[in-house]
């Protein structure tokens, strides 16, 4: 099953590689990983998406908790939560017909065109991973130059919170 695990950890060099190293050393998989400092600059918040049976995910959370740099973690999938990912896509738009069609697609998916050049558009899109997948699939007929995805981040709904 797919799990989204959010981790608060010490904002120290090497902390990220401890998490990444744990996954490779123990044969767990990481689908996506995103990390940035929090409003408290001594802490980073890392969100990772992994897949595994209940036993494996239990081991993953235990092993993560065991890392000295990890302060606290939350398996968002155990709670009601919101997940978001951002994607940016560069599309070659040769003629007027393409331009109109790409704009229409972006609109349907509630995306925005954030850069325009003589023959490219950059479309920005936010949503859960499935929505991004669907958009990328829908854009296949066009000349897609490159796609960049942020990886998943998430937050629990209601009173549940990951904080010190």
């Amino acid at each position: 099953m797919r799990h989204i695990i959010s981790i608060l950890m010490e904002n120290e060099s090497g902390a990220l590689s401890r998490v990444a190293g744990l996954f490779s050393a123990r044969g767990y998989n990481i689908e996506s990983l995103t990390v940035a400092p929090t409003e408290d600059p001594t802490l980073s918040r890392l969100t990772l998406v992994t897949r595994g049976s209940e036993e494996v995910v239990e081991q993953i959370t235990k092993q993560l908790n065991k890392l000295v740099d990890v302060v606290k973690l939350l398996d968002l999938t155990e709670h009601r939560h919101i997940e978001r990912e951002i994607a940016m896509m560069k599309v070659r738009v040769a003629g007027g017909e393409d331009r109109a069609e790409v704009m229409r697609m972006a609109e349907i998916f509630r995306g925005r065109i954030i850069d325009v050049s003589s023959d490219t558009y950059v479309v920005e899109l936010t949503g859960d991973s499935a929505k991004l997948d669907a958009f990328i699939e829908a854009m296949r007929p066009f000349d897609v130059v490159e796609v960049v995805r942020s990886g998943v981040m998430g937050i629990a709904r209601g009173d549940v919170a990951l904080r010190l």
Binding site: S13, S17, R18, G21, E55, K66, V68, D69, V71
Partner: protein
């Protein structure tokens, strides 16, 4: 034996600044020495080099912290491990950057697998050169990351003291383990005021000490319902100082108990309730009792594959209680019914208290039947061997050693057949007496570990039980042993084979002995003498006892005993890899 502390002349000027710590600035190297003094470190095992010269200079100028010079950095770490395992105090290692650090990695990985409290200091190139592929530069923090409890790179002299404090705190609390502190050379020259924190708290690290009271009650409920119980205890009991309480607990319940390889000595081997070691080369009675148990109490043990065999066939009828300080060890390999996270000692204390408060005791009839069954398994005499042989049987050497030392020696071992025989035949009645490489299985561990053990216990008998192959992996340490006049007794069970490899090749590869025969062995007697020690070669069974007596009587000399043993001897019983515990090969 020479005290390594006397190797440094008396200096004392560092002590002079002791009163004025707030105002006087010290160099990083001086701070390093002061931190070790504050931690009460009496011995550091190490080897100097370019990046740690300032530190060695600072150690030279003081006389509280002694230093033991090894001949290879791997041995420094193993020696520190011998020191740590035999005292339950942290081992301390100091090596230089680059090859100093990489040589230490095997030792660090070994200490990590066996949860040994240890702090390893590695020199590093100056901060300005880090990342430049400088001379003797390696990414020590990167290389050691997967085999340490935690590691640090110190980038500012102001962080040095607090980092060292953290290192000792992490190494010795919770589930112990090695912590590496990488110190660039410029940091050891930079200056700042010295202040050593009295205590340490980390928001990201709060190991559980006491067990959950509800879980302890549930565990006791289960214990009292048991009809065919077994206690299975491991290295955690030795490391956690829980041996006394474990003995009390086991006797109160009259349960049979088995120890893992790492846990030997936690319960007296000479006691009637002790079933011997369990696992791949465990006794028939221990493995059969495990297989038929209805309640299993695992204490400070981690369900290693060498213990469980095939997990699908492991303890099929047992409900399992598992006490461990590391939550990640619980339900990792085998799903358990009553997990208790906490240190062995307080948890056992709480369980004993709870047990004493109950009037009920386990069903006496059921227990009698269970003990009768166990005695039948015992009657198989699974450790029997040919005592009339004309060749020296390795088991006989160890039994004789046990008899002559009253079972009270510190025994280190290397890895292989001799290790298993030592575990089976030297019945340990006390904890911290059995020092071997369990998790990583590092050949070459035994001699340096004996050095650390002997230094920690100057008056005691320390014997290294080894084989002709293992001993050659750290043989250079005979030189260290001479430098400090350590009267270690090295018992080499020489069968000219990597015995355990040979045994597997005999059992599972139809006797194709690929590369397991040790050709061109040195003359160990001459080799020992070349290193300044006493060498003996023993070839006949009738000479074993006399030679051992003679060696043990030489209280001030290292004696290297080369026992020429029966090359065809195998370790029995054996649970083949992937088999169930009850599927043993017996002699």
């Amino acid at each position: 034996m020479i005290c390594p502390r006397q190797r440094f002349p008396r200096g004392g000027w560092i002590r002079c600044v002791h009163q004025e710590i707030e105002t006087v600035e010290l160099t990083g190297a001086e701070i390093f020495a002061r931190c070790l003094q504050e931690e009460g470190v009496d011995l550091v095992f190490g080897y100097p080099g370019g990046s740690v010269l300032h530190i060695y200079d600072a150690l030279f100028k003081q006389d509280q912290v002694g230093h033991v010079l090894v001949r290879h950095e791997q041995a420094a770490v193993h020696a520190a491990e011998g020191y740590a395992k035999s005292t339950n105090r942290p081992g301390v290692v100091l090596v230089t950057s680059g090859p100093g650090a990489t040589n230490a990695v095997t030792g660090i990985a070994n200490a990590y697998m066996d949860s040994v409290p240890m702090v390893v200091f590695t020199g590093q190139v100056p901060t300005s050169l880090i990342g430049n592929d400088a001379f003797q530069e390696v990414d020590t923090v990167g290389i050691t990351r997967p085999c340490v409890k935690h590691n640090f790179l110190v980038k500012d002299v102001k962080d040095l003291a607090v980092t060292i404090k953290k290192a000792f705190y992490l190494a010795t609390t919770g589930r112990p383990g090695p912590v590496v502190v990488d110190i660039p050379k410029d940091i050891t020259a930079d200056r700042c005021p010295f202040h050593y924190p009295k205590s340490m708290q980390m928001r990201s690290y709060n190991p559980t000490v006491k067990g959950h009271p509800g879980q302890i009650r549930r565990a006791v409920d289960l214990l009292l319902q048991a009809r065919q119980p077994v206690i299975y205890s491991g290295g955690g009991v030795v490391l956690g100082g829980g041996s006394k309480l474990l003995t009390e607990f086991t006797r109160l319940l009259n349960f049979p108990i088995t120890n893992t390889l790492m846990g030997l000595g936690a319960y007296p081997a000479s006691d009637r309730q002790f079933l011997g070691m369990l696992g791949m080369h465990g006794t028939y009675e221990a493995n059969m009792a495990m297989h038929h148990a209805d309640v299993l109490v695992a204490i400070g043990a981690r369900f290693d594959d060498r213990v469980t065999g095939n997990v699908a066939k492991f303890c099929p009828n047992a409900r399992i209680i598992h006490v461990d300080v590391d939550p990640a060890s619980i339900s990792k390999n085998v799903k358990v019914d009553v997990p208790i996270v906490g240190q062995v000692e307080p948890v056992l204390r709480a369980m004993l208290k709870e047990l004493r408060a109950r009037e009920r005791r386990p069903d006496a009839d059921a227990m009698e039947k269970w003990w009768k069954q166990i005695d039948e398994w015992r009657a198989m005499d699974c450790l029997k061997y040919d005592r009339e042989s004309e060749r020296i049987k390795p088991q006989a050497v160890i039994e004789t050693l046990h008899r002559l030392t009253g079972g009270d020696a510190f025994i280190t071992s290397d890895v292989g057949q001799h290790q298993m025989w030592a575990a089976q035949f030297y019945g340990f009645d006390k904890p911290n007496r059995w020092i071997n490489s369990g998790g990583l299985g590092t050949m070459g561990f035994g001699l340096p570990a004996a050095i650390g053990t002997q230094l920690a216990h100057p008056g005691e008998t320390v014997a290294c039980i080894t084989g002709e192959s293992s001993i050659q992996m750290c043989i250079q340490e005979l030189s260290t042993a001479l430098q400090y006049r350590l009267p270690i007794k090295v018992l080499t069970l020489n069968n000219s084979y990597m015995g355990m490899v040979r045994q597997w090749q005999e059992f599972f590869y139809q006797g194709r002995y690929a590369m397991s025969y040790m050709e061109a062995l040195p003359d160990f007697v001459q080799l020992a003498e070349a290193y300044g020690h006493v060498g003996m070669r023993i070839e006949r069974p009738g000479d074993v006892e006399g030679a051992l007596r003679e060696a043990l009587d030489m209280k001030d000399r290292l004696v290297f005993m080369d026992f020429i043993t029966d090359a065809d001897e195998n370790v029995y019983p054996m649970v083949p890899a992937g088999a169930g515990q009850n599927e043993m090969i017996l002699l």
